[in-house]
Amino acid sequence: MSPAMNSDLTDSDGPGAPPRANGELVFTAPWQPRVFATTMRLQEQGLLDWERFRQGLIGQIADHEPDLSHSDEYDYWGCWLRALEDLLTGADIVAADELASMADTVAALPPDH
């Protein structure tokens, strides 16, 4: 079944935790570390070309930085997610319509699911 959505890592502590010591949070939402970890696992398995992913991420960031004139938070992990989706759909590892249909399913789940 789908993974739990309530693993709020930003609350974890310990010396190697997402750096809170300087008042910084690495992640601002629970989905972000999951996407990060997913990316690294795919890379380990040889399913993701790191350099291509990085170029995709650079492209996403470059596309979104012009939007930063207003007060929005910098959407780094949003860029990361989009770069990962693009790479996986481009490599036919997942299909775009498959993702869209699963997103509908996920969105329809009760909030505490």
Binding site: P19, T38, M102, T105
Partner: protein, 213 residues
């Protein structure tokens, strides 16, 4: 660009704040679930990876390297020569994605690390990057006006100190070996390790000696 993204961001409707985070959370979970359904990964693997980054890997790995470099001149020389090989001596996995290089601070020379293009970062020794490291402001300004940015971050450098800014890339990641603070001559390697901060290894802070009792 895939279809689902068009649906997640219909024309004329720009998502903001919680609405955007919710839409992204849904897409992220959808992606993970599809990969799980295909047998490509398991939620447990994802959990384990996160746990590893949080608990085991992190600034502590880098601190081991710094503390050893402070107490062992031979190690320091080997580190400068071939950081990747030297890391094994202190039990640090260099990672396979890129080459790691160390840059040594010394009197009159200060080093600071950034990534102007995205957020390349020496993950394997410093853990996950802080949010400011990824900010467009840090990435652009640290190159143009490092002294001013460092000052704003609380690090005042003398006017005659040379500042080297190292721009990371997919091939090379940099870690700063900060200067050993004065007054730590009596501390052993373990104790020194405890003084080393993440920020000092990015080059935006000094390592401070512990307060004297």
């Amino acid at each position: 660009m895939s279809n689902d993204q068009t649906e997640a961001h219909p024309p004329g409707h720009h998502l903001h704040g919680p609405e955007l985070v919710e839409a992204q959370a849904v897409r992220a979970q959808a992606l993970e679930t599809v990969l799980v359904d295909k047998g490509i990964l398991t939620p447990a693997e994802v959990d384990e990876y996160i746990e590893t980054w949080n608990r085991r890997i992190g600034p502590l790995e880098g601190a081991k390297v710094v503390a050893r470099a402070w107490v062992d001149d031979g190690f320091r020389a080997r580190l400068a020569d071939d950081a990747t090989a030297a890391l094994a001596e202190v039990g640090v996995e260099p990672g396979r994605l890129e080459r790691l290089e160390v840059v040594m601070n010394e009197p009159g020379v200060h080093n600071v690390v950034c990534c102007t293009l995205c957020s390349c970062y020496p993950w394997t020794v410093l853990g996950l990057p802080p949010s400011w490291y990824k900010s467009p402001e840090y990435r652009s300004r640290i190159v143009r006006e490092p002294r001013a940015v460092l000052s704003e971050m609380g690090l005042e450098l003398e006017a005659e100190t040379t500042i080297n800014v190292w721009d990371s890339s997919s091939e090379v990641r940099y870690v700063v070996i900060p200067e050993r603070p004065a007054g730590t001559e009596n501390l052993n390697e373990d104790e020194l390790r405890g003084l080393v901060t993440r920020d000092s290894m990015i080059g935006v802070a000094r390592v401070e000696a512990p307060d004297q009792p």
